[in-house]
Amino acid sequence: MKPTNTTNPEYFHKVVDCQYACPAHTPVPAYIRAIAQERYSDAYMINWESNVFPGVLGRTCDRPCEPACRRGRVEEEPVAICRLKRVAADHKDDIRDRLPKAGAANGKKIALIGGGPASLTVARDLAPLGYELHLYDAQPRGGGFMRSEIPSFRLPEEVLEEEVGYVLDMGIHTHFNTYIDSMADMLTKGYDAIFVGCGAPRGRDLPNVPGREEGAENIHVGLDWLANVAFKHTAKIGKRVIVLGGGNTAMDCCRTSRRLGGEDVKVIVRSPFEDMKASPWEKEDAIHEGIPIIDNHVPLEFVVKDGKLVGMKFDKVEAKYDAEGRRSLISTGEDPVFVECDDVLIAIGQENAFPWIEKETGIRFTSWGTPIINDDETFQSTRKNVFFGGDAAFGPSNIITAGAHGHKAAVSIDLYCNGQDLEEDRPPPNVTLISQKMGIHEWSYDSIPVDDKRVAVPLVALEKALGDRDLEVELGFDPETAFVQAERCLNCDAQTVFTAPSCIECDACADICPTSCINFVENGTEDDLRPRLMVPAENAEQDLYVSDALATGKVLVKDEDVCLHCGLCAERCPTAAWDMQLFTYNTAKAAPNLVPGLEGL
């Protein structure tokens, strides 16, 4: 193999699994260290700079970081990254004086359509540069789906208010209760650029299932129903409720139903339990609240008697997978299953819908109904001054993805407004690599990992939780638990950096490495090297770090897979050929140094 090019920041970026997996590339180990040091405000600001909504995300994030966490490959459970983020939000001081202010007016005007996380991120990134930002939303308050789709027992309103407020307080001109019904019209209003962050607002229905029309009074599209609950237009539901669907919206629907009078609430889903789209922890939370999840049942009919919905019929199916792993649901041939109910909530997915964007605007769409976008870096549509982001861009995803889109779109809008090229002139990520050596054998971080296991966040008593729709179910970690949970982080951003010319091949690093990552072997191709290592490197997703040829002609090969970043290789190295160096990686934002004083944390 060729020597690893560590001057390309993407190499070490990939080693920090959590940060790499995060769509917004939030510097996870950095804020977790700050939490362990009780520097909650710093931890919060690191997050806020990167993802704008730490308090919201610390409760609701889809957490792609956690399945990626290296700790999960070393022992059973990953670090509780998401809930540690909430700790930072819960225990921070008043940070308002650390937030950036709107910059001096630069004479450019931007419209933001939709008041969700994508638009708010664009607003946050552009406001310090002096843009005049106009935010439009059909609802009376900002937040988008964060407000309308996430029930307040998971995300208290005041947390959302606070973080939406931090953005809107930067001098954003808000136009709430204003539904935009014509893009052509918007284009005549003199905006230098328009950002569309209106989400994927149409909940899928089951129009062709018999009885849908007759039972309409008690059949609701989950997305709309949740919004009605959030804005207090709906306060009750029948005693027996069927929720159709297996995603996170279905989980929010069933748990909300339990709090609005639903006593016998069931989730009924077409697919097998394991294939459901909902996050495992959201399924667990629903089951914990006494909600059975019945899988492998396909809706056949809404049964209506005397003009009133009385139940639903389902066909029992089995999942069969072909050679390529494609699934088909085959009927078992048994009699249809009848399930009684008073109300049905349909939560089977959502779609993009842009009935308000006219053809003559030059904005073109794919056959899936999503806009044709330049690429996932620029977010520019086929009309140069219109940009998309969040669910509106590629279809339904999650808050953290919307935020990541927002950052990139904001960079594009800023470049566009300054007449620069969106690709050529894009700023690179902000990267540093700094030695953490403090003494002969000492590092500036807690290098030896603790053995503690992950613990679950404590909950309020079930009865109490079900009695109050606004009572937050999770209590969050107390500072003592948070410290232990934070210490479980392996500090993967403390990189093992190897300098081949200094190595005397004494083997000390290979001998001490607790997880047998380090090898001194004859070079070969990657396919040849992987099985030849002390422990064969079977996880092909993880890179091999290969050095230049050493004096004996051998090379160093380090399998990054289960490296503990414990620093023992560097501690036992007599010539400092190994060094532990802190790698920081911050994605480019439109306004650099948004929060001063975070460098090197």
């Binding site: 990992p449 414990c566 501690e571």
Partner: protein, 349 residues
């Protein structure tokens, strides 16, 4: 400085025939200097015991005093051990071996512990052919007392302070050969590919197995002018690659005809010596002495298996000791009483 090793190990760590992983052969974290050759020897012993699937509790480690003799703390944390008096490890090893001949004995010593204070005990141990593996971590200096020349320092080697060593160094491997050792090898701490199979062969050998390991002192003897630095050793190394195939394993490696020599040990395991085509014979004591002397004259360090006699009688056989070891004999056998004493005395009258 970290004084504990993390508990986590690679989840796919392979297991040996007995079901142990190499981590089961780990000891405490080393307190020797970073980059010490001795740590590499510790790791080689650990790996050798793992690969040969010797159960950790069937091994006894014995040592004297010095950097080298601290080593047993840093490997085989679940084995028996005795850190004895300076240069007196051979006595302890002899006693232990007589009491329980079923264990695998690994003696670890240094150039000071063996070639100076322990020289008397060492030569007697060699001539008695005690069944053990005796490893000298040889760095040519007294690392524990700031790097003074030891008795194995080569003539002309320059100490860290600048003084040139005026005395001829003791060559322990040649000495062991002269005194009739049945297994003599030399290796280098930086060459685990050779050292591990040598240690495995030494443990399989029935009799006294001596391995002299050049082990650079990274703090006091790793500078320009030292003859036992990493760089200098590598430059003058004349290694003979060695493979060890235990009795139970199938021989899978193939060698070009005439390039290897195979030696079968008492337990049926086989040592393959590569590059042995140029007339090297491991069963010729005089030729081995000559080869080592010639290499030394040329300033080279010859490593590999120098001499092996798998059939030489060990101490138990020579002394015709009871077939049952001492620790298995009961009170009545060990102390047969006045009646037996009387009959012995009668026989002497």
């Amino acid at each position: 400085m970290s004084y504990v090793k993390p508990k986590f190990r690679h989840p796919n760590l392979p297991t040996n025939r007995r079901g142990y992983t190499v981590a089961d052969y780990d000891g405490a974290i080393s307190t020797l200097c970073a980059g010490c050759g001795h740590d590499s020897i510790s790791a080689a012993i650990r790996n050798a015991c793992f690969k040969s699937a010797i159960e950790p509790h069937r091994i006894a480690k014995v040592s004297g005093i010095g950097c080298s003799s601290k080593m047993p703390t840093y490997f085989l944390g679940k084995s028996h051990g005795f850190n004895s008096v300076h240069g007196r490890m051979p006595s302890v090893a002899t006693g232990a071996s007589l009491a329980n001949r079923d264990l695998t004995y690994i003696g670890v010593s240094g150039d000071g512990d063996t070639a100076s204070i322990g020289m008397g005990q060492f030569v007697h141990l060699v001539r008695r052919n005690l069944n053990m593996t005796y490893i000298v971590a040889n760095n040519g200096c007294y690392g524990l007392t700031k790097g003074q020349d030891s008795a194995t320092a080569d003539i002309g080697s320059i100490a860290k302070g600048g003084a040139v060593n005026p005395f001829e160094g003791i060559d322990l491997a040649s000495l062991a050969l002269l005194q009739g050792a049945s297994f003599v090898a030399r290796s280098f701490s930086g060459d685990k590919g050779q050292l591990e199979p040598l240690i495995r062969a030494a443990m399989a050998h029935k009799g006294f197995a001596f391995i002299d390991v050049v082990s650079p002192c990274v703090t006091f003897n790793n500078h320009a002018g030292s003859t036992k630095s990493y760089a200098e050793t590598r430059e003058h190394l004349a290694p003979m690659p060695v493979d060890f195939v235990p009795m139970r394993d199938e021989i899978t490696t193939t060698y070009d005809p005439g390039t290897t020599q195979a030696v079968t040990l008492h337990d049926g395991s086989v040592i393959h010596l590569q590059k042995a085509a140029n007339g090297v014979k491991t069963d010729d004591r005089t030729a081995a002495l000559l080869r080592m002397q010639e290499a030394r004259d040329e300033g080279n360090i010859l490593t590999g298996l120098m001499f092996l006699d798998p059939n030489q009688a060990d101490l138990n056989q020579v002394l015709n000791l009871a077939t049952t070891p001492l620790n298995k004999l009961g009170k009545d056998e060990l102390c047969p009483g006045s009646k037996v004493l009387k009959s012995i005395n009668e026989g002497l009258r």
